[in-house]
């Protein structure tokens, strides 16, 4: 009896393949837009037009792949879109040398962190400024991982997919980067 139950639980449930529909894509993607926007802003720094282009290109490619049956709407879709967005950014950067990495700009992150009012926000803004300054000083490979996992809340597997590196490498880079950032933040806030 028990073995029958186990067999029936492990049997593959046939999936009904639905025709891709624009409405389904739009409904699925709308809640993901804040994350895609945040990631595009992170890549493009203060260049909001570039951020828009990157996000738009990722969505176009996502939609075309979905309609062609090559992209499923799942919890991996956001990392798929982020990978396209990142590749698009790298390609644009190669084509146009005027597009610089945000860390090379004056102010770095500051450019795309929104301004706030009030004392609490002023304190948060100071901390963010320090954090951004510290982040800009990291080696690129560590900064990328922090941007994805800490600043954009991608999980380790998603970050590994986006960067094309093993999950173990994501973990080790993240550990080194977080400890460096923690130290910088700590000593900037509490000078020795």
């Amino acid at each position: 009896m028990l073995s029958l139950a186990v067999v029936s639980l492990t049997m593959e449930i046939p999936r009904i393949k639905q025709e891709p529909r624009r409405e389904d894509f739009e409904r699925f993607l709308a809640p993901l837009l804040p994350r895609l926007n945040a990631f595009a802003r992170q890549l493009a720094g203060s260049n909001s037009e570039l951020a828009r282009d990157i996000a738009q290109e990722a969505i176009i490619k996502g939609f075309q792949s979905y309609m062609a049956g090559k992209l499923e709407l799942s919890n991996r879709t956001i990392s798929w879109l982020a990978t396209v967005a990142r590749n698009e950014f790298l390609m644009m950067k190669r084509k146009d040398r005027r597009i610089v990495d945000f860390s090379e700009e004056d102010g770095g992150y500051e450019a795309h962190i929104p301004p706030h009012d009030g004392q609490r926000d002023a304190d948060n803004s100071d901390t963010r400024e320090i954090l951004n300054q510290a982040l800009a000083e990291l080696p690129e490979e560590q900064r990328e991982v922090v941007e994805l996992v800490d600043m954009n809340q991608f999980d380790y597997e998603e970050a590994a997919d986006i960067l094309g590196i093993p999950v173990g490498t994501v973990r080790s880079r993240l550990s080194r980067a977080r400890l460096k950032l923690a130290a910088k933040l700590h000593f900037m806030v509490n000078p020795a």
Binding site: S48, I59, H112, H116, R128, R171, R178, H186, F187
Partner: protein, 91 residues
Amino acid sequence: MTNTEPKLRPCPHVISSIEKIAEGSDSNGLFMKYVRKHVEKCSHCAEALEALECYQAAVREAYSETIRNGEKPFGEQDLSNLLDSLSNPAQ
């Protein structure tokens, strides 16, 4: 990077536990329990752990602020318009 940069200096036998915590793989909290016990008597490790926790709080705050208040280069209306144009290229 300069040599004069201040550094966190956790005890050598605690470094790997702190690295595991920083890595985020301490899902059952064993390393954290060990470090918490140790930091009761060690100010260097207490400082390292405190720095890591402050960092984690700062990035959480930065992320939620960005999602809440950040510019939206591509909004829902933009999405709708874009999909319209892709679905009906003649328009």
